[in-house]
Symmetry: C2
Subunit: 142 residues, 2 copies
DNA sequence: TTGCGTGCAAAGGTTTTGCATGGCA
DNA sequence: TGCCATGCAAAACCTTTGCACGCAA
């Protein structure tokens, strides 16, 4: 989109694979490993370079969950604007799950931050940390 | 608190220094460098081990801002519970600043997440990404 | 033919780990 | 004295970079 002088086999493979992952998150290593299994392996550096490019084009979104694990990406390119505003991520500090959440009410947060604090929130990148429902229950029982 | 069989010079030095940082954030390297300047240097591994221990004891809070930079810590041990619930962090994606924010209204987020989604949010660790007021203005002018 | 994109290997930075030593109780 | 905590150096980990080659246009 921004600039892609040459279109390559790897770029096409990546994009068509990433489209299929819609709604799921993945790491650079996940992607690399996927193509290694196929007989169309893509080099590590190429995977990183292309993922980063797609992020800057707005096709992927990148999350940094915690520093002990690799960065997470998610295909968000073809999602419409309204959806973006109510799409959030919750990260459970106990079981480690990254939970997707669609919630209108949470969208008011961005409005509040904008109005009262002049801060334009990026819901795509923001991650709420805490304890998920399941782990919360387990904790009570113990 | 959890377990500290032996109390060492390094532990005391660290804790008394960290108490002074209240309200500011710092990296493991910041801490190590500080003591290197002093004539009471503390080994890198020891700094990391103790910071991690203090995090698990709830005295420090650890933020992962982005994967290209080191993890940030903040001394939050002696803050009272009410304050914790309305203390948030905003990270500007443009200028990179990490902004501290005390806001009652934002606290309702945790309640909403708890009630409607069973998710117990940890405000101390949650970071809102977006564009700060200043960078927002600059962006408009361009 | 031109020069961008790729792939390999090496480097980069942060954090962790193994192991011998030091020091608290 | 017993054994945890420390410190050094090396390793681990994810990611980026240098450079030569391949391939799109």
């Amino acid at each position: 989109m921004i600039k892609a002088k040459y279109r390559t086999r790897q770029q096409d493979l990546l994009l068509s694979y990433l489209r299929q992952t819609q709604g799921k998150h993945f790491t650079a290593e996940d992607v690399r490993a996927h193509f290694e299994q196929t007989n169309a392996a893509i080099g590590t550096a190429t995977v990183y370079r292309n993922l980063e490019k797609l992020v800057s084009e707005g096709i992927l979104t990148k999350y940094v969950i915690d520093e002990h694990s690799a960065a997470c990406f998610e295909y968000t390119g073809e999602r419409c604007c309204r959806d973006e505003e109510k799409h959030f991520h919750l990260k459970c500090e106990v079981c480690g799950r990254l939970i997707h959440l669609e919630c209108d009410e949470l969208a008011c947060i961005s409005m509040h931050l904008q109005k009262d604090h002049g801060f334009t929130m990026n819901p795509l990148r923001t991650v709420f940390y805490g304890v998920c429902a399941e782990c919360g229950k387990k904790g009570e029982n113990q």
